[in-house]
Symmetry: C2
Subunit: 524 residues, 2 copies
């Protein structure tokens, strides 16, 4: 045992050095946090004869707590998103955090390995949901719903290697908007993209583009370039890496790992690096090799109709028809899209990145993040229906964790620049005592104000100091202090003090609630 412990202590020493070296080298923050995590795990192994708490105090890998400050930001973001979803007439549902494992099986292609399973404790075999789309499809099939426009905001789980500094987690929120039903082509699809643009605009995240493509066009391209149908999904997942990886590497993966014919891959390479607008669709339709393939033609005609509807919805500069967009998930069948912020990361300004974009004719070389994605999935619900009845669906999912990260950084910058504090409560008035033995009166005043719907607090001490109480108001941004002492109680008044201006006024105790409402028109 002692030997074993010494071994661990030696490992801790070495790992500590690794961490110090990486920090000195200012290495990648994710790399550092990975090594710190290893260090903490080693320390945890040391175990038993320590203090009362025998394990490392942390949240599970890839997860985080939200502090009150972070919750304020999170709720602001979610409120803005919900406002847009409701503006488009969506209703909302909720589903359990876990599903029968079979519900998730066969829906995520190569990503299935990232699913969290629950332990078999006797009973059903369960997994945590990986997204909100598959549970939504299960919900539709189970309840035989053939028409719905719904949003859902909830956490999903992926056993990925998280890059938390960039807002990527193992537990994270998705905000989904989906339209299910048998409708005319591309009308709901265009509304999904309209919803995404309204959300990104209202969050004021700077410029963005929405890349769009069509799964049928990709299938047609693969076919036209001579990639066998059995390799379409594998090719798709390689092509999907083009937003982060240069073509040469993607080519190497397709030829090497996936054993695709180099000539076919080179032919494909000509196309998947193209992007543009309606004119690109026309060019490709006129290309006999592409336009002559049924699937590609179908996809291109779909894209054209989609772009026309986007224009009617006031969108065109935001939309980029991009043949490199593939989306990893198996279930897409039609239009696919992905929203990318331009130049928020790497300290780049939006202007820089737009310049880059025109230079490279693509935003993809810029190290920016995808913040929304989605597409059409017409066959997923049918996979759950005992008679295979299909309910065509299209939807968009907003990846809010990255948005939270960006806005948290903004708030931190503001705080550093102007000292501006983010309020985490909505307290309107603080009931304070000017002298000892006022607890009874403070409690009664609080009671009356709570019962009148005013947001008030008081100190939980018997005899708090007045200065400490007023300081608390200042620190927490509470606008009004209601000060009572023996003389106020005798006269039946309350001293109402504006915390920032320090102006004070005596108000009859019975009209305090009315007075607060008058002074704080925003109050409840």
């Amino acid at each position: 045992m002692a030997d074993h412990k010494a071994q661990i202590q030696e490992k801790i020493k070495l790992q500590g050095e690794t961490v110090r070296r990486l920090k000195a080298e200012k290495a990648d923050a994710d790399k550092i946090s990975e090594e710190v995590s290893k260090l903490l795990d080693l320390k945890a192994q040391l175990g038993d004869d320590g203090p009362p708490q025998k394990f490392t105090l942390k949240t599970p890998k890839g997860t985080r707590d939200y502090s009150p400050q972070q919750m304020v930001i999170r709720n602001r973001v979610l409120d803005k998103i919900i406002t847009v979803f409701k503006r488009h007439g969506a209703e909302t549902i909720d589903t359990p955090i876990f599903e029968l494992k079979e519900v998730l099986t066969g829906k995520y292609g190569e990503d299935s390995k990232l699913i969290y399973d629950l332990a078999d404790q006797g009973g059903e075999i369960l997994s945590l949901r990986y997204d909100l789309t598959v549970p939504f499809a299960r919900f539709l099939a189970m309840n035989k719903i053939s028409n719905i426009k719904r949003y859902q905001i909830a956490k999903v789980y992926r056993r990925d290697n998280p890059a938390m500094t960039r807002g990527r987690y193992r537990e994270f929120y998705q905000c989904d908007f989906d339209i299910a039903g048998q409708y005319d082509p591309m009308i709901p699809d265009a509304e999904c993209v309209k919803v995404a643009t309204e959300i990104l605009s209202s969050l004021e995240l700077g410029d963005f583009i929405i890349k769009v493509n069509h799964r049928r066009l990709l299938d047609g391209l693969f076919e036209a370039c001579g990639i066998p149908a059995s390799s379409f999904r594998a090719a798709c997942s390689s092509v999907d890496k083009l937003d982060k990886t240069p073509w040469e590497e993607v080519r190497a993966e397709m030829v090497g790992e996936k054993k695709l014919d180099p000539d076919a891959v080179d032919r494909l390479g000509e196309y998947v690096r193209m992007n543009g607008g309606e004119e690109l669709a026309d060019t490709l339709l006129a290309d006999p090799k592409i336009g002559g393939t049924a699937a590609a033609k179908e996809g291109l005609q779909g894209i054209k109709l989609f772009l026309k509807y986007c224009k009617l919805f006031g969108l065109s500069s935001e939309i980029s028809f991009d043949l490199s967009l593939a989306r990893g998930l198996d279930y897409y069948t039609g239009i696919i899209f992905e929203a990318v912020l331009l130049g928020q990361f790497n300290g780049e300004t939006a202007e820089d990145s737009v310049a880059n974009k025109s230079k490279e004719n693509s935003a993809r070389e810029v190290g920016v993040g995808s913040v929304a994605g989605g597409g059409r999935y017409d066959n997923l619900v049918g996979m759950f229906d005992s008679k295979g009845r299909a309910v065509p669906c299209v939807g968009i999912s907003i990846g809010v964790e990255r948005i939270f990260s960006i806005l948290e950084a903004n708030v931190a910058r503001q705080k550093a620049a102007s000292g501006e504090v983010l309020r985490t409560t909505e307290v309107e008035a603080f009931v304070a005592s000017a002298q000892k033995n006022m607890l009874t009166h403070r409690m009664e005043l609080c009671r009356d104000l709570w019962d009148a719907g005013i947001k008030v607090e008081m100190s939980y001490k018997q005899n708090p100091k007045l200065l400490a109480q007023l300081q608390y108001c200042e620190e927490r941004g509470i606008p009004l202090a209601l000060v009572i002492g023996e003389s106020e109680v005798e006269k039946g008044i309350v001293k109402v003090r504006e915390v920032t201006s320090r102006k004070e006024e005596d108000i009859p105790r019975d009209s305090v609630a009315t007075e607060i409402r008058k002074r704080l028109p925003q109050c409840s």
Copy 2:
């Protein structure tokens, strides 16, 4: 294989008969749903050569989806609860749905067996959270926070045998309000109960009482009655069953299963069936056997101070000092409380149950539900701190699932009585076409209204029928229909139709947004 299948088919036949028999006997709904679930599982085993979907389409045992109608009710309830939490100055946090397993170990006594574990997929050993209290304590210790008033609304997980018809699930929401910090005795404790009463009143659930007791008093009682200290927790969990189980059965469990001395148990029985107010505390303090025990005296003096503060907060008829209240969890150290609705279940009216209450001097014989509970836990945070630093805490948890069930039943009754439909969207106007080929114009009008912040919808068909569109508005309770045809487009107008009155008026297209705002003062 064929033999195996025949066996299952035979089992299905037998199980089907069981289900039919139970239904015919109008057996307990939980029992029926349990047997139906077994039947479905058997059918699922039949497996492979069936339709595309090879497994039972259901949510995991003890969980449910929330339909849009249920979500409206859920969000109304949560909004009211959040309003109260904010009125008392609480900030909010969030924690991951799972924790390192060690975080939960040793916190829940006999209930630990109900914890859901995640599968070991390499890496950390994780469990789903069982409540919000232990993660909150972990959060405080990890971030070295010594003062906070926070609320948290989130799902928790218990592998219990659910009674779903009565609003008990394996996945369910808790709404917690906790005050952490070193303060003067009973002031935050009384505020927690004030918060609970404000919430239950604002939800209009009928009469309720809040039972209170003190863990130190219970310890003192056990000691005074001659129960050994090592059996206090076991005795606690038996006493806790007195709200649902007659004394004779609880006594039998303590004497039989838990091997406690029958005389000691009988002495205890004299006390744990008492309830009342401040006068009961005085009576017990005057009882030499009880008042002479240090722990009991401490508990009784605490109760007295607590009841005094509750009175100052305007509470007394709602509070019942009840010696049978024990609360199962290990971590409580001081005051404990539980809110019980009177006469909502079993078709009983509030009046009936109040009558019962005065007759029996207790609400506990009435089959009603606990809807909130909590208490003081001064040592939990210290269990996570490497130096054992304590952060005293007190909190209340609202069990909203039962409240959802009650309100869902109310809405269903209303619907049956008056045909009143619950709106699940907030759509203010529907853009409709009076004739064919208006899609372009409908899309443009929607765009303009969305961009003006109005909540609008339109049909996703190229050429929907006007009647179908107007019917949709009626069914969904959309107040306005905006009808356009070729002549309206030519004249630059929109026909604004009030859906219920069917009154129509022509409005210039450019002022439609303004007009909608005027007609719907509540609109965005």
